[in-house]
Symmetry: C2
């Protein structure tokens, strides 16, 4: 079967050859899984994605969501697929089986999600937000709330969302003004206006459980005064039946550049004074709770973007094999025939760039999925803390770096199509528009860069980064021993060393109080960390591929494996020198952007 | 007045301080122009753009163009503005005054166009295509045709288009299959299907003159058998009156990602056997003629993109000054107030990057506009040939490099807005969508890169590039003598030298027959040439600014000039090291993308 959305061979290679995910099935919590069941899950996810979900992508974009008479409707085709997701138990794949989820290893759910998000990520946001809200309830809700909400959410009977943003509180969540007042029965009355609420209202399910941030009357200003609440769209009676509407009103849907299939709602809570919510966790500890969920959402965002990039690459590849234009540049005979454009060097550059980034990022995302499983399986607190620290370091890369590069790949995919890439008859322009949001939501990529440099590197004393460097070194050492990879190993090793210099340099600047002079390089720092991780992942792939090739392999796998070795060469020789150039700019400490006076920017 | 679309001070700085455009007014053809009239033209262009054209941008996007009962309609507001363009004589600004144009120096028309394209470039494409078709008629048409068509086109009574693309002939124009058969009266009967025709049909003017490529029956295959024709939508009688419809039928409008205000038409010619055209120039010499026009169109495309980037930058700047989020990163007091986001380092990075690219590209585009004027004024063939050669070298940069960087800037502009950047309530997302086409049409940027490396560098023996290097050296020498710019001068000089090495390396590869191994780096080559040109333009600006600052200047200009010096520092220290990294990749000659076997790409 032709590969669409994601290359199946590549998924298997990462899962079984690179990450040896069968190891997780040794843990009692994953005892029911083995290679066979994992392969079956991926097969089913692919079938559902290709046959049912992908065909809804265009309708989602063209029809979009509508608010009429207070009701939000999603595209007709979404309803049918939502039912299939419920039937197939695809809503709560990695949610706890105790509460109706599948309890799948995260790394396996990530692989399945590759197909789903690449098929229609606006649709998958209804799933993703539901998982996020359910995680909060599972982690911070009382037994009563878990029983009331979780099973229905994890099986897709109800959905969930996150209510953070307000008009004056975007990136700066701590500035929010929604209020909560405690009622005698222990619930809280909520009042406020939330905007940009993905999956905020719709007609896919009977109820929506909103995880909502608000400030309890009298609580401190800013982040320390924020609490988290579970606010149902329809009140849920203690016996689980649905009660009255809970005074959560969708006042508008945003018109957006992309992801039209997902309803981005403005919600007014408590305009009639009748909106109630349950406290999740402790009072004034809402931001801490939300951060836990946000990390998952950030990883999920990276996955959405990379899934779109993967789809874009495979579309472009198919197009480049079909589209005939121009004779070969090395064919000088007058009547040389025109050839498929995949034979032209610049098209090969675009495809090769797309392929290596998609594959490098896929490895990273699955690696991180496996880290989450390893945290779950950690034998002690020390191991757990170490794994969590590495996970924390990689999270802003999965979100910030991967969404940037995924967007680049979708733009390359459009470019391969030429004029056809810009028109709506072909899928490429939607992929560009849809992917674009991933650089913004769940914390803009600029916020990710600050998180990476400030919190995850400098405040961490560089420990997580050193832990990563140690992991990279293992691959470097292996590559040094592998025929044909020594040069690549050395280049990667040199880049890691130079990256360490850059981190030291920026950290030193911050310690010395030149905070802005370091932070102005936070974005560049995120880019170079990401590049080095790509080199790591691709070199790792090349090691395995070279070893398999040396052992001898099935003819049909050989070309794929050779492509892995070539991919590492391509990336390390064509991108790492640029990374080194970027590190030079960090070391150069140009302060021009910091020193610019407001008037020098112009505009007045 | 607040600066929108383009920074007026910056336009004046480039025109009068950097390029000394008053010099062109010494030429008799431009004798009626002087600094005062030029300033007046820019003032009027700005007024028209800001007050009348900019307000139509959103309607153009939302309403778009429609085909109903064979008639194409444009947004209602476009009609009024088209009349204003006619009244103000803005359609034929740089067209020959002999034929109803304004005969404006190109550099001045370019500056005026900065405002127009930044306000609504989908609208301006009706003007641009008209100019392109009129140029072809002026250069290759008979006296009769000039009299029939030109004045009406240059005054906007009629418009024009270019009919190149066919379904199987996109980038490879030579593959087209439209045919022409000579009639006894000297006209040709044309038959064929053209697609992707910008401004291809509309209701702004009574007639459209299509410049159409077709193959005369019996002509050779490929490019050498293509001829150029003027094909009116409505036949024009010899007395200039309109005759019968000329069997040119709009069969469809494309649904696109952006530029919705421009009608992208599929046209069927001669389905009833009644489409006639006039030959322009000689039989089978159509491609050569079209190339002449295409160069103009490519420069114009660069200008469209940079104008959008300029608008995006100024929008983002205003937003960053208004939007309050977070306290400063160096404010540790608990109750430190939230500040406008322009005070945050990463936002400054985005603004500074946008500013320097917009300004560097503006300088380049005006410089090239002036080159066109200098070609026109050249005192002999030798001087003309030298100027044309440099112009030819810079054209793919203006198109390929500038549209890429302009797209980056519009994406940064969206990013500064955060979530608000993605919704249609604000102008940023439209700027991203509109700008995206500039990387594709008038020859994809990949085609530009091939043109730059193959035709304009290697086949040219590097002469044009050396001529450019000599121009850069003048600025470098000047900067070496300027207080505070020595380091920047040396870095720029080193980059130019290294660029020469890269060109030699790629040229040598091609001479030795390793054509693909060089061409696979054509895109990187275009990027590094563009970067070096940015450094040149920004260093040049900094020299002038530093000199003016040393002399003493008006208080209100001081901040602007300091910004120029800082801009050069910012670019040369933050981007040239990356350029050097890219040159290293060229010198590294990685052949992985060339060597990849088809199956190794996957997808099967």
């Amino acid at each position: 079967m032709a590969q669409v959305i994601a290359e199946r061979k590549d998924i298997d290679f990462v899962l079984f050859d690179q990450l040896n995910v069968e190891n997780v099935t040794k843990h009692p919590d994953f005892a029911e899984y083995n290679r066979k069941t994992i392969e079956m899950i991926i097969n089913e996810a692919r079938n559902l994605a290709v046959k049912e979900l992908l065909p809804t992508q265009k309708e989602g974009d063209e029809v979009g969501c509508h608010l009429e008479n207070g009701k939000v409707t999603t595209p007709e085709s979404f309803k049918r697929v939502w039912e299939l997701f419920k039937e197939g138990e695809w809503v709560g794949t990695s949610m706890s089986s105790e509460w109706g989820g599948q309890g799948m290893p995260h790394v396996v759910a990530t692989a399945a999600g590759d197909y789903f998000s690449g098929a229609n990520f606006a649709f998958m946001m209804y799933v993703g937000l539901t998982n996020g809200a359910a995680s909060l309830i599972e982690n911070f809700g009382t037994e009563k709330l878990k029983k009331l909400f979780l099973k229905k959410m994890n099986t897709g009977i109800w959905t969930g969302t996150m209510l953070l943003t307000e008009p004056e509180a975007g990136s700066d969540v701590g500035a929010l003004t929604s209020t909560a007042v405690k009622n005698p029965d222990g619930t809280y009355s909520i009042t406020g206006n939330k905007i940009f609420i993905s999956s905020g209202d719709h007609d896919l399910a009977d109820n929506i459980i909103h995880a909502c941030l608000a400030r309890i009357e009298g609580a401190p200003a800013g982040t320390p005064g924020i609490s988290l609440f579970a606010v149902p769209k329809i009140w849920v009676n203690d016996d689980g039946s649905l009660g009255e509407p809970n005074d959560v009103v969708c006042t508008a849907l945003e018109e957006k550049m992309g992801i039209h299939g997902n309803a981005t709602a403005a919600l007014a809570l408590g305009t009639k004074g009748k909106c109630r919510g349950y406290l999740l966790g402790e009072e004034n500890k809402g931001m801490r709770a939300m951060f836990l969920m946000m990390n998952g959402a950030r990883l999920h965002t990276g996955q959405q973007a990379v899934a779109c990039a993967s789809t874009s690459y495979l579309n472009a590849l198919t197009y480049a094999r079909d589209r005939v234009q121009f004779r070969r540049a090395d064919a000088f005979e007058k009547n040389a025939p025109a050839v498929p454009i995949i034979q032209h060097p610049d098209v090969r550059r675009m495809l090769m760039t797309s392929k290596t980034f998609v594959e490098g990022m896929r490895s990273l995302l699955y690696y991180v999925g496996l880290l989450i499983d390893k945290v779950h399986m950690a034998k002690d607190e020390k191991e757990k803390a170490e794994l969590e620290s590495l996970l924390g370091f990689l999270t802003p890369i999965c979100k910030g770096y991967c969404t940037d590069r995924a967007y680049d790949v979708t733009n390359l995919g459009m470019q391969v199509y030429g004029g056809y890439g810009f028109i709506k008859e072909y899928p490429q322009e939607q992929l560009v528009r849809d992917t674009r949001i991933t650089m913004i939501y769940e914390g803009t990529n600029g916020i990710q860069a600050l998180d990476l440099l400030g919190r995850k590197t400098v405040m961490d004393g560089g420990k997580s980064m050193m832990a990563m460097a140690a992991e990279i070194q293992k691959v470097v050492n292996r590559a040094k021993e592998t025929e044909g990879l020594k040069e690549l190993a050395e280049k990667t090793e040199a880049a890691v060393k130079r990256l360490g210099d850059a981190a030291m340099h920026l950290g030193k600047g911050m310690m010395e109080g030149k905070i802005f002079n370091s932070l102005v390089f936070s974005y560049t720092f995120m880019e170079v960390v990401g590049d080095v991780i790509m080199a790591w992942m691709l070199l790792w792939r090349a090691c395995i591929a070279a070893e398999l090739l040396a052992k001898g392999t099935r003819k049909k796998d050989e070309k794929y494996l050779v492509g892995q070795v070539k991919g590492a060469h391509y990336f390390i020789k064509n991108f790492l020198p640029i990374t080194i150039g970027k590190i030079e700019t960090i070391m150069g400490s140009c302060a021009a952007a910091v020193e610019m006076e407001d008037d020098s920017f112009g505009g007045k």
